[in-house]
């Protein structure tokens, strides 16, 4: 009986170890294959040239997709950051009432919303009026995805600022709104963390872009025109039957993963081991 309990204990405890290993295997496999298949396709052409034709041996790159992704994410940040930051300030500094708590709750719920639904929203509001998919619609959809993430991470970061800071500021006769900004300045690494994580998240979004931004094989030609993006190209080329397209998809995946992991490492340095808010 005693032996049985001892054995069960060892078995159950080792199951936890095993599950950690099982969880790490896919990540290792993804990083390995993306590097092995993707890294060799990264060269100057990859950054500077337009996509190639599917003929074997045709050369080209995804310069337009890199440009498009940067434009889309930059514009999305112009929407997501101000809205997210200010609503985060509202939740943390002014939201000690029913409405504030509801905003916080809805923000949490919206974070888990499927991104494709943001795509449908962007499509319905912006694609028919402009008669085509466009950079504007794509940036709008990505911005909508960013808002709740930035808002909740900001609110969480501000919450960690001790109340003594607010009280000291008030005691010095500093007005509430300056005090709020002071609180933001105190929590700047946490706020920056949220902004960076939200950016990394929309950097990897594909589904909403299919509905809103569309795809283009040319360079950026205006906010009301379809725009290329790395993620859409990974999807499009990765499901194509052409060898050179598939290898470009792996290259784009490698480049994307390097950027996303870079941002995550930066966040880790910023927070110095404190865990960012999990959303």
């Amino acid at each position: 009986m005693k032996f049985w309990r001892f054995l069960m204990d060892k078995v159950l405890i080792s199951l936890a170890f095993v599950s950690v290993i099982i969880a790490i295997i896919p990540l290792a496999s993804i990083l390995y294959f993306v590097t092995v298949r993707g890294a060799p396709t990264i060269n100057l052409d990859f950054f500077t040239r337009l996509p190639p034709t599917p003929e074997p041996g045709a050369v080209g790159g995804l310069g337009n997709a890199i440009q498009g992704t940067l434009i889309l994410v930059g514009l999305a940040a112009c929407i997501g950051l101000p809205f997210g930051l200010l609503s985060g300030i509202y939740i943390s500094e002014y939201g000690r009432n029913f409405f504030g708590r509801s905003v916080r709750f809805l923000g949490d719920v919206l974070i888990g919303n499927p991104s494709i639904v943001a795509g449908i929203l962007g499509f319905t509001l912006l694609v028919p009026p402009l008669h085509s998919t466009s950079a504007m619609a794509g940036a709008f959809a990505l911005g909508v995805i960013m808002i709740p993430i930035v808002s909740i991470t900001t609110a969480e970061a501000l919450r960690t600022v001790p109340n003594s800071v607010r009280e000291a500021s008030a005691a010095l006769g500093i007005r509430k709104w300056r005090t709020s900004l002071l609180v933001v300045a105190n929590a700047k690494s946490g706020v920056a963390t949220g902004a960076l994580l939200a950016t990394a998240r929309v950097l990897g979004e594909t589904a909403p872009l299919i509905l809103t931004a569309g795809i283009s094989s040319l360079w950026f030609s205006g906010l009301n025109r379809p725009i290329a993006s790395l993620t859409y190209y990974i999807f499009y080329y990765g499901t194509s039957p052409f060898k050179n397209w598939v290898s470009l998809a792996w290259g784009a995946a490698f480049f994307l993963i390097v950027m996303v992991i870079g941002i995550n490492l930066a966040v880790r340095l910023l927070t110095r081991g404190r865990r960012p808010y999990a959303y």
């Binding site: 095993v18 200010l86 499901t239």
Partner: protein
């Protein structure tokens, strides 16, 4: 002077309020746009949800196969992903040496950082061939008496999509349930040890059961993610509107339906049918997230209350 300052105060407060309300407005806009865009009426709504034929050329739109696909793939994801995530959570909160905690949680959280289209690419070229050649024939040979493991084996199938989803939900489920485990007071563990319980018994009796509502919340969040995940599933599920008993056969999900067919949809009825699929998706995920967040908020409140004692 004082009046001007307080006007600035009022202005900033209003500004923050307006931007704060944008979150509420966004939620309403989501439901408004998807409801009006889908031309939903009660009768066609039932035909839509319960109809098993999806034939845009014949103007017949029934999403039962997609609902089936979403439900089954999410269920597989939970069946595989939740035990692994709980193992990770238990390891990180109860067993891990201090030095390993932070690197391991970083590695597990990196799983969340991998873009879903990269999961799709990896699923198509690495995981699906591996499963089709090695794992699925093995399952069929040993468990082939079960109807779910019968029939022709496809690489792009419901089961493959479920497995990819299982990997994708590990970070969220494990990090939320780990937080729940960390919130269990040490007195609970000490009580169990004092009664002579082994480590695993302590974890089961006093840690896991104490944290069960937090764990439930993490499972609901994982369910929401799996149900709404789009592009990775689109790449590995096969995109065929089928209700087949076999997990090896290709299927379709609500989200992959939208991603796959939106660019081809030319008629307004076709588009509104896809928007309606999006509405079903939104409602399901919104409800699961509400349940999850309610459970979490109750947890946080009880922890704050406990800290006053």
């Amino acid at each position: 002077m004082g009046a001007r300052r307080s006007r600035a105060d009022a202005f900033f407060k209003t500004l923050a309020f307006v931007f704060g309300s944008s979150i509420v407005a966004l939620t309403l806009v989501f439901f408004y746009v998807l409801t009006t865009g889908s031309s939903l009426t009660i009768k066609s709504g039932f035909a839509f949800i319960l109809g098993s034929e999806w034939n845009p050329l014949g103007n017949v739109y029934g999403v039962l196969p997609m609902i089936y696909g979403s439900v089954v793939t999410s269920a597989i994801a939970l069946l595989i992903g939740v035990p692994i995530s709980l193992g990770v959570a238990v390891f990180l909160s109860e067993l891990s040496p201090r030095r390993l905690k932070s690197p391991i949680s970083f590695i597990v959280e990196l799983l969340a950082a991998v873009p879903s289209v990269v999961y799709g690419l990896w699923g198509v070229f690495i995981l699906a061939p591996l499963l089709r050649v090695y794992a699925y024939p093995f399952l069929q040979a040993h468990f082939g008496f079960l109807p779910i493991f019968q029939g022709y084996i496809y690489g792009a199938s419901i089961l493959t999509a479920g497995i990819v989803l299982a990997i994708m939900i590990i970070p969220i489920v494990s990090s939320i349930s780990r937080d729940a485990l960390l919130a269990v007071p040490d007195s609970q563990r000490e009580a169990a040890y004092a009664l002579g319980a082994t480590k695993s018994e302590t974890i089961r009796i006093s840690v896991l059961s104490y944290a069960r509502s937090g764990i439930l919340a993490s499972i609901f969040l994982g369910l929401g993610r799996a149900f709404g995940e789009t592009i990775a599933v689109t790449m590995v599920v096969g995109n065929t509107p089928l209700i087949s008993g076999s997990l090896f056969s290709p299927g379709y999900t609500l989200a992959s339906l939208i991603a796959n067919e939106f660019t081809e949809a030319t008629t307004t009825t076709y588009i509104s049918a896809l928007v309606e699929a999006g509405l079903v998706l939104l409602c399901v995920v919104f409800l699961t997230n509400i349940v999850a967040r309610y459970l979490i908020s109750r947890l946080v409140r009880s922890r704050e209350a406990a800290s006053y004692l």
